[in-house]
């Protein structure tokens, strides 16, 4: 067992997380805004009468520890990170960041994972076939709109879909993760609820899949061109292997290796990639939460979400590092 390799990768992972958490801690504080003042100002703007704001801020500062030296706050934050305690939100008082994440993150992960894998598999196959069978005209015809779309941002295309299919034709819902106001929902054991969720997820998923398809297809096609020209391809043909075997075991198997790296990196970017899509579709994911938290300087929430993003990327990289030697023997489980 290559323990050295696993330990070195794990330590890289931990170091990454440590550095990322530190950045996450300092970044929102650069703005110099005090979240409590923001909160109180918001309350005031709503017309509430606030007496002696300064005293209230001071009291809350005391409670949250904002009046302590930065290094003490930092130590407290890092201790929390180790215990996976991300603190309490100020605007969603008294919910903890963990609770907020638990409510939202599964929506994002489910949508992100499904769309990512779907686009990856379909796009990769399309690219591979496009190069392998140059005479497949219908694929060529299909590629031009897909390539055009890949230059459009997710959210913009999402807006177009929303306008067309929800607003004009009313085929899909305008917002949300499921229909509100139905008694007993959300209920994950109820099939009509699950159907409703899928119905709501269709447009957001479509906007992501259609836009990212082109990238995967072009990447794979390029790699397939290179792979087709390799000596082992000619040798495979000289060995009298059937076309199918050559396509999958010689072509795709080799051309896919760089795609796998791309997949792992995209895995880490699932949450951040979906932020704006979630805003457009008012999807109950992490993105909406983050967009609320940033203008209000809700430090704990921003820190928590960004920390989870960093964790996702680092985790994806770690997993890739661990499985890559299994799919390509040239990469060894050695130090490095």
């Amino acid at each position: 067992m290559p323990w050295n390799y696993i330990i070195s990768r794990l330590s890289m992972f931990l170091i990454t997380i440590f550095i990322a958490s530190s950045i996450v801690f300092f970044l929102p504080r650069i703005s110099g805004q005090n979240p409590l003042e923001e909160k109180l100002l918001e309350e005031a703007a709503r017309g509430g009468f606030l007496e002696d704001t300064d005293a209230m801020v001071a009291a809350f500062d005391e409670k949250y520890g904002f009046n302590k030296p930065l290094w003490q706050q930092y130590v407290k934050f890092m201790t929390g990170i180790i215990q996976f305690d991300l603190g309490r939100s100020i605007f969603n008082w008294p919910k903890t960041v963990n609770q907020l994440l638990a409510e939202t993150i599964w929506w994002t992960i489910a949508l992100g994972l499904l769309t990512l894998f779907f686009a990856f598999i379909v796009g990769t196959l399309m690219g591979a076939i496009l190069e392998w069978k140059r005479n497949k005209k219908f694929l060529m015809v299909l590629m031009s709109p897909i390539l055009t779309l890949s230059a459009v941002p997710f959210y913009l295309f999402g807006l177009v879909l929303l306008l067309a299919f929800s607003f004009v034709w009313s085929l899909f819902p305008l917002f949300g993760g499921y229909s509100r106001g139905v008694a007993g929902w959300p209920d994950w054991s109820n099939w009509s609820f699950i159907g409703n969720v899928l119905w709501h997820a269709t447009l957001p998923a479509l906007s992501v899949v259609l836009v990212s398809l082109g990238g995967w297809a072009m990447g794979m096609r390029g790699m397939m061109v290179t792979t087709k020209g390799e000596d082992y391809m000619l040798q495979a043909e000289a060995k009298g292997l059937p076309d199918r075997t050559m396509f999958f075991r010689y072509g795709i198997r080799n051309a896919m290796l760089p795609q796998m790296t791309g997949l792992a990196l995209q895995l880490g970017l699932i949450v951040s990639g979906l932020v704006l899509v979630e805003v457009v579709f008012s999807y109950p994911g992490v993105g909406g939460l983050l967009v609320q938290a940033i203008p209000r300087s809700d430090h704990a929430v921003i820190q928590g979400i960004v920390f989870v993003l960093a964790l996702g990327t680092a985790l994806a990289t770690l997993i890739l590092d661990l499985i890559y030697p299994l799919i390509d023997a040239r990469i060894k489980y050695t130090e490095g």
Partner: protein, 358 residues
């Protein structure tokens, strides 16, 4: 036109048994924007069972193009524009794709040029030997796992490799070892014909010799014919029984190897051999002046005439071909493309010095 198709039949009635490979007027052209490149033009020869043929020529003379076309492995824009290729009596150009696939490896196998990258980097050697066997054996006749493993070990041993190589990946092997694996794959189904396209081009001379000895040993044991494509005349002299010389898409000389070296008939072959260094003679090497012609618009008449020492009355060649050069009508050299004729038994030459044809 007297070509390979009639000559061997006269010698041997049982054509099918005697000749493993019969190539007749094979034409392989490249369709390019600049025009049709006649990379292989009207090439004919036959190869007997168990015979080892060498095929030499300069880069761009069409030897590799022809070798690939024999297995129908030529890629667009190359097309087989005409002719016939018969392997043990079966016309390869008439087979459908699936039949051709079955024929590859089983009847005609390739030992590739530069074995460095000819193995799939992501699979073990074992799997790469087995997949060739597997796809040429009906499912119900496929050996069981144990027997397949034994066969793999047997093949590896036959090319001088240890059984442990089976579980290695290509990047763990040296260049020589990879070429040996390629030999093991090529011989895994005991083909009638092995096509070796510069099999030792990237190897040092010691390994080169080992590989050629292994190839020779396997070939003799299986009674397979070999077509060895290359440009190393020394290697050819050691290995081949017969030698074909290609120039600008034509086969210009085809004869038993000793005859070619002792008494080359074509001026190009003559120059090729006189350009070889001699261990007993100290002196400067002579090459062949000029470059091979473009095949888009080949020179009119004989394609070699712009570089031909006889046509150009080269001083150093005054003493060569003295008895017949007087009969050469040099007008023919610039107007008529000479055909490959059998001027003596088993001596084929395409040159106007040996008689006129049209």
């Amino acid at each position: 036109m007297t070509t390979a198709e009639t000559a061997p039949a006269a010698v041997n009635v049982d054509n099918r048994a005697e000749n493993v490979l019969e190539v007749e007027n094979l034409k392989v052209y490249y369709d390019t924007d600049a025009g049709q490149v006649k990379a292989v033009d009207d090439v004919s020869f036959t190869l007997k069972r168990g015979e080892r043929m060498g095929l030499v020529g300069e880069s761009g003379s069409g030897k590799t193009t022809m070798a690939m076309a024999l297995m129908r492995l030529h890629k667009p824009p190359a097309i087989i524009a005409g002719g016939n290729v018969r392997l043990d009596g079966v016309s390869l150009l008439d087979l459908n794709d699936e039949q051709m696939r079955q024929t590859r490896l089983r009847d005609i196998a390739l030992v590739p040029q530069g074995a460095m990258n000819s193995l799939n980097p992501v699979y073990r050697v074992r799997d790469q030997i087995i997949d060739g066997i597997k796809h040429h054996t009906p499912r119900d006749e496929m050996l069981n796992k144990g027997a397949v493993s034994e066969r793999v070990v047997e093949l590896l041993n036959s090319v001088g490799l240890d059984a442990s190589v089976a579980d290695m990946y290509p990047h763990e092997l040296s260049g020589g070892m990879k070429q040996r694996v390629a030999l093991a794959i090529a011989t895994s189904l005991r083909p009638k014909m092995i096509l070796a396209d510069e099999p030792t081009s990237a190897l040092d001379v010691v390994v080169q010799r080992q590989i050629m000895l292994t190839l020779e040993q396997l070939q003799q044991e299986m009674e397979a014919s070999v077509l060895l494509v290359g440009h190393d005349m020394g290697l050819m002299a050691q290995f081949a029984d017969v030698l074909g010389v290609m120039y600008a898409g034509h086969l210009v000389e085809f004869a038993p190897i000793e005859e070619v070296f002792r008494n080359p008939k074509h001026p190009y072959t003559k120059k090729l051999i006189s350009s070889l260094p001699d261990i007993q003679v100290k002196g400067t090497f002579t090459g062949i002046e000029g470059l091979p012609p473009t095949l888009v618009i080949p020179p009119p008449g004989c394609r070699f005439h712009p570089r031909c020492p006889i046509y150009n009355n080269d001083e150093d060649f005054r003493d060569e071909f003295v008895d017949i050069r007087g009969s050469l009508n040099t007008d023919l050299c610039t107007t008529v493309d000479p055909h490959l004729n059998e001027i003596e038994p088993r001596r084929w030459v395409a040159c106007h010095m040996y008689g006129e044809d049209a």
